[in-house]
């Protein structure tokens, strides 16, 4: 279990290697506030429930009917239903808007694509959510550091510096991988 979480958290980070939410995290890291907290809670519940439900439907209905290639559509319909339900609950109880589509849907697809059973799928989805969560404080810290160093309000230069720093973070995460030393591997 822990190896799957670590895989999606560090070795093959859902954000940095798969590219899920690469752009979204740079936007969300601007403000670490209550909205982000509720957004995380809502999306975590939605992703985990949708992954589990989609997996059951794929196994029980799509595979016996030979329609497994339709799984993204089934996952989308389940995701939208669960997302609307949880969104309504959060909006009524807290008043925060927490709508989000792209990142959550991609995490569900990745978890369904790369898992062998239901528990595996839910753990993979949890690993992806954690990888998104762990990158947000890092990005926020980077953003603040760049803002301190560059008081001039030039968003483009800041954004390019953030991208360069992200590249360095990816390189540092993959530093244990020395396969490129062997000629012809890449």
């Amino acid at each position: 279990m822990i190896d799957i979480i670590l895989y999606y958290l560090f070795y093959c980070s859902a954000v940095l290697v798969y590219g899920i939410g690469l752009n979204r995290t740079t936007v969300l890291s601007r403000s670490m506030d209550k909205t982000l907290f509720f957004l995380t809670i809502k999306n975590a519940i939605t992703i985990l429930c949708s992954t589990a439900l989609s997996w059951v439907i794929i196994m029980e209905l799509l595979i016996p009917a030979g329609l497994v290639e339709l799984y993204p559509l089934v996952a989308l319909l389940i995701f939208l239903s669960v997302s609307v339900f949880v969104e309504v609950l959060i909006r009524i109880t807290t008043g925060f808007k927490t709508s989000e589509f792209g990142v959550s849907y991609l995490v569900i697809l990745l978890a369904l694509n790369e898992s062998t059973d239901l528990i595996n799928a839910v753990i993979a989805a949890s690993g992806c959510i954690l990888s998104l969560l762990i990158i947000l404080p890092v990005m926020s810290a980077l953003r603040k550091r760049i803002e301190c160093a560059r008081p001039r309000n030039d968003r483009m230069k800041k954004k390019s510096l953030i991208m360069l720093t992200m590249a360095v973070v990816i390189i540092s995460l993959a530093v244990w991988n020395v396969s490129w030393l062997n000629q012809g591997v890449l």
Partner: protein, 212 residues
């Protein structure tokens, strides 16, 4: 007027960078992959715009969002099935990446905007933006393919054709551009270059205004 033009330019470069981060950076740095993704992006933009016009025409706004998303996912699945039957190795290589353009902010932004236009105008405007981004994306993929792998890959009827330009093993440093950090550095480089050019133009324009 000039100020609004500058803001438009800055906005469009943000859209390009956001789309690049969402779609191009995680994709394999092969020109053939770029061609497939660009085709998919344009197909999705065309179909999405038509569905959006259909929804507006028949007042289906209540179920509109679900309908657009379902159609776009269905188009992606259709595209994937075509790839599986024609170029299976490309379908395997792209895998999960095929779904990135479908949920990217680039497409979603056009599909769920408040603006209502006639079908002709909406198609021409969206396709123009999509095609201009496609040119940028193809150049980006071509650079990564040539610099990172020393090849140009093309899609043919018999699969992926690879034209070897030079032995990439001899220039190890350039292999970096085939990786995700390499793609990020490229994106950042484009942004820095763009800012540099914009600033130079601003200086020239200011000098001209002072002379007048």
């Amino acid at each position: 007027m000039r100020r609004s033009g500058e803001i438009m330019n800055k906005k469009s470069i943000y859209v390009y960078i956001a789309a690049t981060l969402a779609m191009i950076v995680p994709a394999p740095g092969r020109f053939a992959c770029g061609v497939v993704l660009v085709l998919e992006l344009n197909l999705l933009m065309l179909v999405g715009t038509l569905v959006r016009a259909f929804i507006n025409r028949f007042n289906l706004q209540t179920t509109g969002n679900v309908l657009i998303l379902s159609v776009m996912i269905a188009v992606t699945m259709f595209m994937r099935q075509i790839l599986v039957t024609t170029v299976p190795e490309m379908a395997v290589q792209l895998g999960f990446v095929l779904y990135l353009p479908t949920v990217s902010s680039f497409l979603i932004g056009y599909m769920f905007g408040e603006e209502q236009q006639s079908l002709g105008r909406a198609v021409s405007r969206n396709m123009l933006h999509s095609l201009s981004y496609s040119v940028f994306a193809l150049v980006f993929f071509l650079f990564r393919d040539v610099a990172g792998f020393g090849t140009i890959t093309l899609l043919t009827g018999h699969g992926v054709y690879e034209k070897v330009l030079f032995d990439s093993g001899k220039i190890n440093a350039l292999v970096f551009f085939a990786t995700i950090p390499g793609a990020l550095v490229c994106t950042s480089g484009i942004l820095i270059l763009y800012v540099y050019i914009i600033n130079k133009f601003a200086i020239v324009e200011k000098a001209e205004q002072e002379n007048d």
